[in-house]
């Protein structure tokens, strides 16, 4: 019987882009690395994502964004997390993110940005080494 502490990760797709292949690959890959992954599907609002993150008491929120709206959407998610007193949740991002935007995302409070070509193992290692 396995009752050790499991790391819980919410994989969410905010905004309007309808491509979830990447999000599914990540969700599946993290599952195989031993994480408990909650996948909420396409077209989620920041409010929905934060509400799910709080109810599920996740350690990590992973946002998959391909639409180009990553700055606006991420800022909203992080603001809502603060409102819920939930800044301790690690926020990471994947998708199509131009290098130039990475510093601004980090300034908002994003811990890691993973663009295409990232190996899932690296994401898993990053999460494990960045949680308390």
């Amino acid at each position: 019987m396995n009752t050790e502490k499991k790391i819980r990760v919410l994989v969410a797709k905010p905004g309007l882009d309808g491509h979830e292949r990447g999000a599914r690959v990540i969700a599946y890959g993290l599952r195989d690395l031993g994480f408990e992954v909650i996948y909420t599907g396409l077209r989620q609002t920041p409010e929905e994502i934060v509400s799910a993150a709080v109810q599920e008491d996740v350690d990590v929120v992973g946002l998959s964004i391909l639409s180009g709206a990553h700055l606006t959407l991420t800022r909203k998610v992080i603001e809502k997390l603060s409102e819920q007193n939930a800044n301790d949740i690690l926020v990471i991002i994947g998708g199509v993110i131009p290098d130039n935007d990475v510093p601004e995302l980090k300034k908002m409070g994003v811990s890691g940005v993973f663009t295409s070509g990232t190996s899932i193992k690296d994401v898993g290692t990053f999460i494990r080494s960045n949680l308390p």
């Binding site: 031993g34 408990e36 709080v54 819920q84």
Partner: protein, 315 residues
Amino acid sequence: MWEDWKSLIVEMRKGSVRGLARLITRVENREPGWMDAMQMIYPMTGNACVIGITGSPGAGKSTLTDRLARELFDRGFKIGIIAVDPSSPFSGGALLGDRLRMKEVSTLDDVFIRSMATRGALGGLNLSARDVVKIMDAFGKDIILIETVGVGQDEVEVVKAADMVLVVCVPGMGDGIQAIKAGIMEIADIFVVNKADQGEADQAVADISAMLELSSDETSSQVPVLKTIAATGEGVLDLVTIMLKLQEVGRIRSSWHEERIKEEILSLLEKEVAYILRCRWDQNGNLDQAVKQVIARKKDPYSIVQEMLALMHLQ
């Protein structure tokens, strides 16, 4: 944040969703002191009605749970949902996707959804599902819906946790003989034939009804069999009406009440004793020693267990 259990429980009782969620995590992880915490919580429980929703994978349990929760929410009930999905037996990880199907209620206040992985527990639920029910009850939920993992024929743990069980079937799953087998077909307080827009729905209803008529238990013939199409919401209104009527008649499984409490005590004891012994044997090396002796064929597992029981004066 809320390092000690007591302040966490106080926070939860004040209505903090974050406090509730954290408390569930810590109990689920069996953190030190969890049993003392449950002792504090127990007196605050006993008000919620617990409804189990079970059935085969892909029968539409999550979608139906979503519709039921919405209908009950609209009638003014505070709803908690526990949605269980399987853990991987290989990696220990899990992909919890029930929330994805709960579009109606996942954004509503007063509806709290918690996805749980089985973490190796058999029987369709998670080891701590019953504790989580109590925590949600103490939080003030009126109705708690437990959606099991997709089950086969024999996973009936949900009966032990719920006051009322819905067994969700789909058309075309088998003939009248499937319907009279033992196991899951015996635990329903209500049968739901979902995806009723597919052919053979009436045949499924007929098979189940015929099975109920064959039963030697007279109350069985009164078990309702309903058709729904969870995807559109058709039939859900009737289902909710019947559920609430059954609930009014009294906790319909009240005859099982003593049995349930007995089973809960024994199962807690069993888990704790096994856990404590395992830790002790792991630490003092007796377990490793025993494994080596069996591999070398100097001893067998049966005599090892008897020796260990004798050491504890249990035999």
